[in-house]
C-alpha cells in the first residue's frame, strides 16, 4: 500500500534521511524505531508533504504521490498524529474533532464519524466543550488520535504517542491502536519505546542516522544486535 | 574593545573617505550639497536609532521626541530667553537622555512585551507632537523662526553651505563610529543577547535594565544633538517635521532598508533613499503632486522584495561573489 523508494530528504539541503526504502501492506501495524535524531519524524513529515524529498519516490496505493501538496495527501488518506499532540489549545474538544474531519473527503460523513470516535473515546465525549489546552496529556493524546480518525485516514501515522503519558494511559491508547486495522486502517507507528513497539507491531524498521539499519518481524528486530547499537550509538 | 574598532579608527579607507567627502563642497553645486547635507542628517539620525532599534532589538518609535526636544527646546530657549544654542543643545541633550532613560526604565519596570513597547513609544510620540503643537512656548502649530545663519560659530551658526555640510559630516561620522564602537564593545554583545532573547539574557545574569538604559540614553542624546544642528541648518523649526512620528518612521525605513543592526546599514539606507527622495521631488514635484513620493514608495517596495535582509547583505554577497567567482 505504501512504498518509499530510496528516499533522500532533509532540511535546507542537508539530508537527514539517506536512501530509505520502506514498505507497508494494507492492514499492517508497522513500527518505525530509532534513537532521537535518526530521522523518524522527518520521514513522517515527508509522507505528510511537509518536507519535500531531495530524491526518491513515494508510492501510495500504486500512485506516485511525491508531488502532492500536504492538503492533497490528507485527502488521499495519509494522516499524521503529530509528536506532542499539537491539539488546538483554545478550541474545544468538539471543534478539534470537527477540524480533524475538515478535508473534503471526510467532511461528507463528519457527524457519523464524530459519533464513532466519541464511542471509541468516551472520555472525550464527557469533555466535549472543554478547551483542549486544559486537558491532561493522556486526554490530549486521545483527542489527537480521534482527530486523526476524523480525517478518514487510510494510512494513520502516529508520532510518539506514548510520550509523556502514564503507563495506564499508554496501555489504553495502545489497546485502541491494536483495534484500528480491523476498522480498515494501516498504521505506521513511530516510537522510541522499543519494547512497547515490539509488542504491538507485526513488523519494524529501525532507523539509524537516516538509514534503515534493521528490518523484519518484531522477533527478528528484537534479537538483532544492531538494534541495540542503533539505540545506544555503539 | 575588539580589534575591529581600532582598525576602523586607523583605517586609511575611512579617513580617505572622510577627507574626500570634506572636499565635496568645493565641487558640488549648492543644490546637490544641500541634498548631501540632508542625507548626512539622516545618516546620523538613523544610526542613532539603530543602537536601540537594531542592536538592542527594541523598536522604539519615540525617537521624534528626542529630535523634537533637540530642535524645538533649544530654539525656544534661544528665542524666548536668549540662551546660547550651544548651551541649549546641551540642555536638550540632557533632557532627552533623561527622557530616554525613563522610557527604558518604564519598559523594564512594567515588563512590556515588544509590541506593547512599540505602541507605547508611539503613543508617547503622538502625545509629544500634540503637546508641542499646542504650546506657544515651543512654537505651537506655526513653529519657530531662528535668526539668520551668519556663520558665527560661537552662536552655533555654521553659515549654511559648506560649513553646515562639515558639521553634518562630523555628526554623521560620529554616529556611525559610535555604532562601530558599540558593536565591538561588551555593550554591543549584551545588547545582542537582549535582542535575541531577553529572558534568557536575564537568566544568565545580564543586567538588562542597565544596558537598555545605556542604549536608550546614547541613542537619545545623539538624536537630540543632531536635532539641534538640523534645526539650525533649516533655520525654521517646523513641528510637523521635527516632532512628528513620521520622521521616526522615515528613520526606521532607512535603517531597515540598509540593514538593521549593522553599523553601516542605516548609513547606506539614508545615503540611498534621501537623495532619491529629494531628486525625485526636485524633478517631479511640480509636475504632478504626489508623483515623486509614489515612485519613492514603489522603489521601497521593490527594494524590500529584492533584498529581504537589507541592502548591506546584498552588497556583501555581491562583493564576495565578485572577489571569488570560482567559489
Amino acid at each position: 500500500m505504501l512504498e518509499l523508494e530510496n528516499l533522500v530528504a532533509g532540511y535546507g539541503g542537508v539530508p537527514v534521511l539517506r536512501d530509505v526504502s520502506i514498505k507497508l501492506d494494507a492492514g499492517e501495524i508497522v513500527g518505525l524505531l530509532g534513537a532521537n535524531n535518526a530521522g523518524k519524524t522527518t520521514l513522517i513529515n515527508c509522507l505528510s508533504g511537509m518536507v519535500a524529498p531531495i530524491s526518491g519516490r513515494i508510492l501510495f496505493e500504486g500512485r506516485d504521490i511525491s508531488r502532492l501538496t500536504a492538503r492533497q495527501r490528507v485527502e488521499a488518506g495519509i494522516v499524521q498524529v503529530p509528536e506532542g499532540r499539537l491539539v488546538f489549545p483554545e478550541m474545544s474538544v468538539r471543534e478539534n474533532l470537527l477540524l480533524g474531519g475538515i478535508n473534503a473527503r471526510a467532511r461528507a460523513h463528519r457527524p457519523q464519524q464524530m459519533d464513532k470516535v466519541l464511542a471509541l473515546f468516551p472520555r472525550l465525549k464527557e469533555r466535549l466543550s472543554q478547551h483542549a489546552g486544559t486537558l491532561s496529556g493522556g486526554e490530549q493524546q486521545m483527542l489527537a488520535i480521534g482527530r486523526g480518525l476524523m480525517a478518514e485516514a487510510k494510512l494513520l501515522m502516529l508520532d510518539e504517542p506514548s510520550l509523556g503519558l502514564s503507563p495506564l494511559f499508554v496501555q489504553y491508547i495502545f489497546e485502541i491502536i491494536d483495534r484500528l486495522p480491523a476498522e480498515g486502517l494501516t498504521i505506521l507507528l513511530v516510537e522510541q519505546n522499543l519494547m512497547l513497539t515490539l509488542r504491538h507491531t507485526g513488523r519494524c524498521y529501525v532507523l539509524e542516522r537516516g538509514q534503515v539499519a534493521v528490518e523484519g518481524s518484531a522477533d527478528v528486530v528484537k534479537n538483532d544486535p544492531r538494534t541495540r547499537s542503533a539505540y545506544l550509538g555503539l | 574593545m575588539r580589534e575591529d574598532f581600532y582598525r576602523t579608527l586607523s583605517s586609511p579607507v575611512w579617513w580617505g573617505a572622510l577627507v574626500l567627502a570634506a572636499l565635496l563642497p568645493l565641487v558640488l553645486s549648492s543644490y546637490y550639497l544641500h541634498i548631501l547635507t540632508l542625507s548626512l542628517v539622516y545618516v546620523a539620525l538613523a544610526s542613532s536609532w539603530n543602537i536601540v532599534g537594531g542592536m538592542a532589538g527594541q523598536i522604539s518609535l519615540a525617537h521624534s521626541l528626542f529630535i523634537g526636544i533637540g530642535a524645538m527646546l533649544s530654539s525656544a530657549l534661544l528665542l524666548k530667553f536668549g540662551v546660547n544654542m550651544w548651551l541649549g543643545m546641551l540642555i536638550s541633550a540632557a533632557l532627552s537622555g533623561l527622557l530616554g532613560a525613563t522610557i527604558a526604565w518604564i519598559d523594564f519596570r512594567f515588563q512590556l512585551g515588544h509590541l506593547s513597547f512599540v505602541l507605547i513609544t508611539l503613543a508617547f510620540a503622538e502625545m509629544g507632537a500634540i503637546i508641542v503643537e499646542g504650546w506657544d512656548f515651543l512654537g505651537g502649530a506655526s513653529g519657530l523662526l531662528l535668526p539668520r545663519d551668519t556663520g558665527n560659530f560661537r552662536l552655533f551658526q555654521f553659515g549654511g553651505g559648506a560649513g553646515s555640510f562639515w558639521v553634518m559630516l562630523t555628526l554623521a561620522a560620529a554616529c556611525v563610529l559610535v555604532n562601530v564602537a558599540i558593536l565591538n564593545a561588551p555593550l554591543g554583545y549584551y545588547l545582542r543577547t537582549i535582542r535575541d532573547n531577553e529572558k534568557a539574557a536575564q537568566a544568565i545574569g545580564v543586567d538588562v535594565l542597565k544596558y537598555k538604559i545605556t542604549a536608550m540614553v546614547i541613542s537619545a542624546v545623539l538624536a537630540s544633538v543632531v536635532g539641534t544642528a538640523y534645526v539650525r541648518y533649516l533655520t525654521f523649526a517646523d513641528p510637523y517635521l521635527l516632532v512628528s512620528p513620521v520622521i521616526t518612521i522615515e528613520i526606521v525605513l532607512f535603517a531597515t532598508v540598509g540593514g538593521l543592526g549593522r553599523a553601516y546599514g542605516p548609513a547606506l539606507g539614508a545615503l540611498l533613499l534621501v537623495p532619491l527622495g529629494e531628486i525625485l521631488r526636485g524633478k517631479l514635484g511640480s509636475t504632478l503632486p504626489g508623483l515623486h513620493y509614489f515612485i519613492y514608495g514603489v522603489v521601497v517596495i521593490t527594494v524590500t522584495l529584492a533584498t529581504p535582509r537589507g541592502l548591506l547583505s546584498l552588497f556583501e554577497r555581491l562583493w564576495r561573489g565578485w572577489r571569488r567567482p570560482a567559489a
Binding site: 505528510s48 511537509m50 501538496t69 500536504a70 492538503r71 495527501r73 490528507v74 485527502e75 499539537l86 491539539v87 488546538f88 489549545p89 483554545e90 478550541m91 477540524l99 480533524g100 475538515i102 478535508n103 467532511r107 482527530r147 480525517a151 | 512594567f110 515588563q111 512590556l112 512585551g113 509590541l115 506593547s116 505602541l119 507605547i120 508611539l122 503613543a123 508617547f124 503622538e126 502625545m127 500634540i130 503637546i131 499646542g134 504650546w135 513620521v246 518612521i249 526606521v252 525605513l253 531597515t256 532598508v257 538593521l260 504632478l288 503632486p289 504626489g290 508623483l291 513620493y293 509614489f294 514608495g297 514603489v298 522603489v299 521601497v300 517596495i301 524590500t304 522584495l305 529581504p308 535582509r309
Partner: protein, 288 residues
C-alpha cells in the same frame, strides 16, 4: 449630566467602528503575523473610491459599498499574494517596511488622481439627526455603530461556527497542525487578508458621510487601529471590540470635557495607562 451621556454615546458610536477596523488587523496578524502599516491608507482608498463613484454616477456611499467591497477584497488578495506573502518568512520589520512603501504608493496615488484638497462626499443621511432624550447624534454615526456591531457579530459567528472560521483560528493557534489537517494554510492567509481589506472598504463607507477626506489621513487611522489592536491583545476578538470602545470613549470625553491639548491627549493617556498595567492587553491570558 447630559454632557456625560453625549460623550458616552458619541464615544460608543465611533468606538464600534474603531473596533471593526482593528478586527481586520487582528485577524490578519493572528493568521500571518503581519502588521499592515498601510491599513489606514486602504481606508482612504475605500473612501476615495466612494467619492469617485459619487462623482461619476451620483452613487450614495451606502450604495457604493456594493462595488467597493468586492473590488477592495480582490485588491487585498492580489496585494497579499504578490507583495506580502514573499516577506512572511523574514524579519518582522521587513513586512513593516514593505507596507510603509505601500502606504506611500496608496497615499500618493490617491493624491495624484484626486488632488490634495479636502473633499466631501454627500450622502442622503448626512445632516439628519437622531435624538435620544438629551443626546443628539448624527444619523451616519448611528448607522456606523449598528453596522459595525452587526458585522462584528457576523465575524464572531463566522469564526465560531463555520469551517472557514475554524480554519482561521486553527492556523492562528498552530499552523503546522492546521496543515496536517489538510487545511491549505496559504489560502487561509490570503483569504483572511482579503477579508480584512474588504472590511476596510465597508468601514470606509461608514466613516465617510459628513467627513471631509484628504489623501494624507491614512496614518491617523493606522495609528488608531494599532492602538486598538494592541490594547485588545492583538488577537482577542472581544478585547479588540472593547479596546475600540475605550479609545472611542476616551476620544469623545477628551473633546467634550477637556479643552485643547489635554483633550486631544486623552486616548493616548488612557492607552498608556492601561498598557502599563496590563501589557498583554485586554485579554484574559495571564502575563507570560
Amino acid at each position: 449630566m447630559s454632557e456625560l451621556y453625549q460623550a458616552l454615546a458619541q464615544g460608543l458610536l465611533i468606538g464600534s467602528t474603531y473596533g471593526l477596523l482593528a478586527l481586520g488587523m487582528g485577524l490578519v496578524y493572528g493568521v500571518s503575523g503581519v502588521v499592515n502599516f498601510s491599513h489606514g491608507d486602504f481606508i482612504s482608498l475605500g473612501m476615495f473610491m466612494c467619492l469617485a463613484l459619487y462623482s461619476a454616477f451620483s452613487l450614495d456611499p451606502y450604495v457604493s459599498v456594493l462595488i467597493t467591497v468586492p473590488a477592495m477584497t480582490a485588491i487585498g488578495a492580489v496585494v497579499y499574494i504578490f507583495l506580502i506573502r514573499p516577506m512572511v518568512g523574514h524579519q518582522f520589520l521587513m513586512v513593516v517596511q514593505l507596507t510603509l512603501g505601500l502606504s506611500l504608493v496608496l497615499q500618493n496615488g490617491i493624491l495624484m488622481i484626486f488632488g490634495g484638497q479636502p473633499a466631501r462626499t454627500p450622502s442622503v443621511v448626512e445632516s439628519k439627526l437622531f435624538i435620544l432624550g438629551d443626546v443628539v447624534l448624527q444619523v451616519p454615526h448611528v448607522i456606523a455603530f449598528v453596522v459595525s456591531f452587526l458585522l462584528a457579530g457576523g465575524l464572531y459567528v463566522m469564526l465560531r461556527s463555520t469551517d472557514f472560521g475554524r480554519s482561521i483560528r486553527a492556523v492562528h493557534q498552530n499552523a503546522h497542525a492546521a496543515a496536517l489537517m489538510g487545511i491549505n494554510v496559504g489560502r487561509v492567509q490570503v483569504l483572511t487578508f482579503a477579508l480584512g481589506i474588504g472590511i476596510l472598504a465597508l468601514a470606509a463607507a461608514l466613516l465617510l458621510p459628513g467627513t471631509p477626506i484628504q489623501p494624507a489621513q491614512g496614518l491617523r487611522y493606522t495609528v488608531i487601529t494599532l492602538l486598538v489592536v494592541v490594547l485588545g491583545g492583538m488577537t482577542n476578538f472581544v478585547g479588540i471590540m472593547l479596546g475600540g470602545l475605550i479609545i472611542g470613549i476616551a476620544e469623545a470625553f477628551g473633546t467634550i470635557y477637556l479643552e485643547g491639548v489635554l483633550g486631544l491627549l486623552m486616548p493616548y493617556i488612557i492607552f498608556v495607562a492601561i498598557m502599563l498595567f496590563r501589557p498583554q492587553g485586554l485579554t484574559w491570558k495571564s502575563r507570560q
